[in-house]
């Protein structure tokens, strides 16, 4: 079943420098999230992946297009349906320190949504529920964590608490925005495994936002991968197929930039297949295909015509010359 369906979504923000002008952050996004599915959203900073995540959670209203939850447009829900949607779609933020109120204990912060939404009748019940989820995410014994303040915990522990907070309201979809980027390498895998387990046990769908392709592959496993560039999805495919056989020139460059073969020792670093390092500004995006300024294969047509996301060898790709690129 399609839990979330995004159709022709566009988001524009007011321009900071020129009044009355709009900056288009997202353009023509089409994506659907099935029940129990994991989708990894990757791209460089500034490509709009976090904005898309926040729009899915309902923090930004769509400027164009429609997002539907369980088949209904989220801007036209009645009060009860809206509550159901807000509880059903949860977010885990990147900066675990900023996401918890430093003046409240973990219990104070986490019991609030349970009491507010009548999932727990009283504090006693809320504590029982939280204990259960803390054990689930590996924070044992729970009482060691419930009455602490955020600064008394490590980054990995806070990240687990954020996950427990999202899980405690029994969501259907969790949007996880770079949940492991601030956690030490030795602990990342443990958090990723935790998300996989939650995905399998409760059939929660995950939208995993990251710029780290290697962890995306671990989280999504059999899921899908969407590559974003300047507010558009440029490649969408099964994650294994996408990484083993990248098709869009931008995604090829991204893959080439990921360090590989760590046991090999010092070796030559080849040039990336890109014409320039810096991403163009969203305030003044290139005409036509937004990637043409950096694309090594660009031709005249790319400057004039914006490529549509189309089917190509089983996946989706937005490139005029997908067939010709080696």
């Amino acid at each position: 079943m399609e839990l979330i369906k995004i159709e022709h979504l566009g988001i524009s923000f007011d321009s900071r420098t020129k009044k009355k002008e709009k900056v288009k952050i997202l353009q023509d996004i089409n994506l659907s999230i099935e029940e129990g599915e994991v989708i990894a959203l990757v791209g460089e900073s500034g490509c709009g992946k976090t904005t898309l995540g926040k729009t899915i959670v309902g923090l930004y209203p769509p400027s164009e297009g429609v997002i539907s939850y369980k088949g209904k447009d989220i801007t036209k829900l009645n009060k009860k349906e809206y509550m159901d949607y807000r509880l059903g779609v949860q977010m885990v933020h990147q900066d675990s320190f900023a996401a918890l109120n430093p003046n409240r204990t973990i219990f104070q912060s986490l019991s609030m949504p349970l009491l507010q939404n009548h999932i727990a009748k009283n504090k006693k019940e809320a504590e029982d529920i939280l204990r259960e989820y803390f054990t689930e995410v590996g924070l044992t014994p729970p009482e060691q964590f419930l009455y602490k303040y955020p600064h008394q915990l490590s980054g990995g522990q806070r990240q687990r608490i954020l996950l427990a907070r999202a899980l405690s309201v029994k969501p259907r979809v969790i949007v996880a925005d770079e949940p492991v980027s601030m956690v030490d390498v030795s602990l990342r895998i443990a958090l990723i495994d935790l998300m996989t387990r939650m995905n399998q046990k409760y059939r929660i769908s995950f939208v995993y936002i990251t710029h780290d392709l290697a962890t995306a592959r671990y989280v999504a496993k059999d899921g899908r991968l969407a590559v974003m560039y300047l507010g558009r999805i440029v490649e969408l495919n099964n994650i294994r197929e996408a990484i083993d056989n990248p098709r869009h020139p931008y995604f090829k460059a991204l893959i080439a930039a990921v360090p590989s073969d760590i046991g090999r020792g010092k070796s030559e670093m080849k040039d990336l297949p890109l014409r320039s390092l810096d991403m163009p500004s969203v305030n003044n995006p290139p005409t036509g295909c937004s990637f043409h300024t950096r694309c090594p294969y660009y031709q005249e047509r790319c400057e004039k015509e914006t490529p549509k996301l189309r089917e190509f060898e089983g996946g989706m790709i937005a490139c005029h010359f997908a067939e010709e690129i080696p």
Binding site: V185, I189, L213, I262, G263
Partner: protein, 346 residues
């Protein structure tokens, strides 16, 4: 560790201990550490947050601040081929001002915060040059600045910019250029690519690797991300709990680790093309460094100890063991036996 000072040693750290006075006692962030850095090589110091890698480097630069204190050890700097030795920890403030940046410079973590927001980019360079050459002429300085900005492939126009005009990757490149402006012999880079995108990260690593080769500079990388340095470091030092637990050539250390912690780290890194189910985290958390250790510091997280194949004798982890050609490990159990070959690459 066996200390035969070779011809090409540039910095020698001997028995360095740095203590921090904290609420509940003494935190030993750097515990009797000894190692050497060789001329013209790239060394990476790897460790989790809190493992003491930044502290070790502040020791090398003699920048340990209150409440930290160097309680034992020496750091010796050998300038051009051992004609002159200098004990960095005993320098007078005047000597230090001349020494810093001219011989050893640093690229600090978090490029966003390392530049002064109200100074133009070129003023950062002026300040640094004038501190060392009081009568430097503006034209000469501009010439030099353009040159170093060229090394990091930045347009000379950025000289007139303020930091907020630049992207994260550009700021990081400015800082690298700034570290090069006095032609130092050693550059210490503290997490130079953390918080950057993969593409920018690759580009900066490539730049650094070319600069290292082109100018024969010794580079010291501090990072928690093994994958990032695996292709550019000659040698790797792995830190855990304030100690170096393994040290050797990159391909040896990562290809065939001789310390369970290194092996755990290598096993924990997700890569693009391996079997998804094989990766596993090192369970547990790093030790509290304020305690008095009675066993090996890695005991609680060590699979070898848990299998009962090691008694985690603290005294025996006090030295490092030679485990091969130019490589050392602190794990006596693995140093004694042949370690199982692991699949650290293809």
């Amino acid at each position: 560790m066996e200390q035969n000072i070779k011809e090409n040693t540039i910095i020698e750290v001997k028995d360095l201990t740095i203590d921090f006075k904290v609420e509940n006692g003494i935190l030993r962030a750097c515990d009797h550490t000894s190692f050497d850095i060789r001329r013209n090589e790239t060394v990476a110091i790897i460790g989790e947050s809190g493992s003491g890698k930044s502290t070790l480097c502040s020791g090398i630069l003699n920048m340990v601040n209150v409440p930290g204190k160097v309680t034992s050890g020496t750091v010796t700097y050998f300038s051009e081929y051992q004609h002159a030795k200098a004990d960095i920890l005993k320098m007078s403030p005047q000597e230090e001002t001349q020494f810093r940046w001219k011989e050893i410079s640093t690229v600090f973590q978090a490029a966003q915060n390392a530049l002064n927001p109200v100074l133009k980019i070129k003023e950062h360079f002026y300040e640094t040059i004038l501190a060392h050459q009081h009568n430097a002429k503006a034209e000469e300085m501009d010439e030099k600045i353009k040159k170093v900005l060229g090394y990091v492939r930045l347009d000379p126009a950025v000289m007139e910019y303020y930091p907020h005009h630049l992207s994260g990757g550009m700021k990081q490149r400015v800082l690298i250029a700034l570290s090069l402006v006095l032609d130092p012999k050693v550059i210490i880079l503290d997490e130079p690519t953390t918080a950057l995108d993969v593409v920018t990260q690759y580009y900066i690593l490539q730049l650094l690797s070319n600069i290292q080769k082109g100018f024969k500079i010794t580079m010291v990388f501090l990072t928690h991300d093994i994958a990032v340095v695996s292709n550019i470091a000659d040698r790797i030092a792995v830190m855990y709990g304030g100690e170096i637990v393994e040290y050797g050539r990159t391909e040896d250390v990562l290809g065939n680790p001789k310390h369970p912690y290194t092996k755990g780290l290598v096993d924990a890194i997700p890569t693009l093309h391996d079997d998804v189910t094989k990766r596993k985290a090192i369970h547990g958390t790093p030790p509290d460094l304020t305690q008095k250790f009675e066993y090996c510091k890695f005991k609680d997280r060590c699979p070898v100890y848990q299998e009962g194949k090691c008694e985690a004798d603290y005294e025996r982890t006090r030295t490092m063991y030679k485990t091969g050609d130019d490589r050392y490990s602190r794990c006596y159990t693995w140093a004694e036996q042949d370690t199982p070959n692991m699949n650290g690459g293809k």
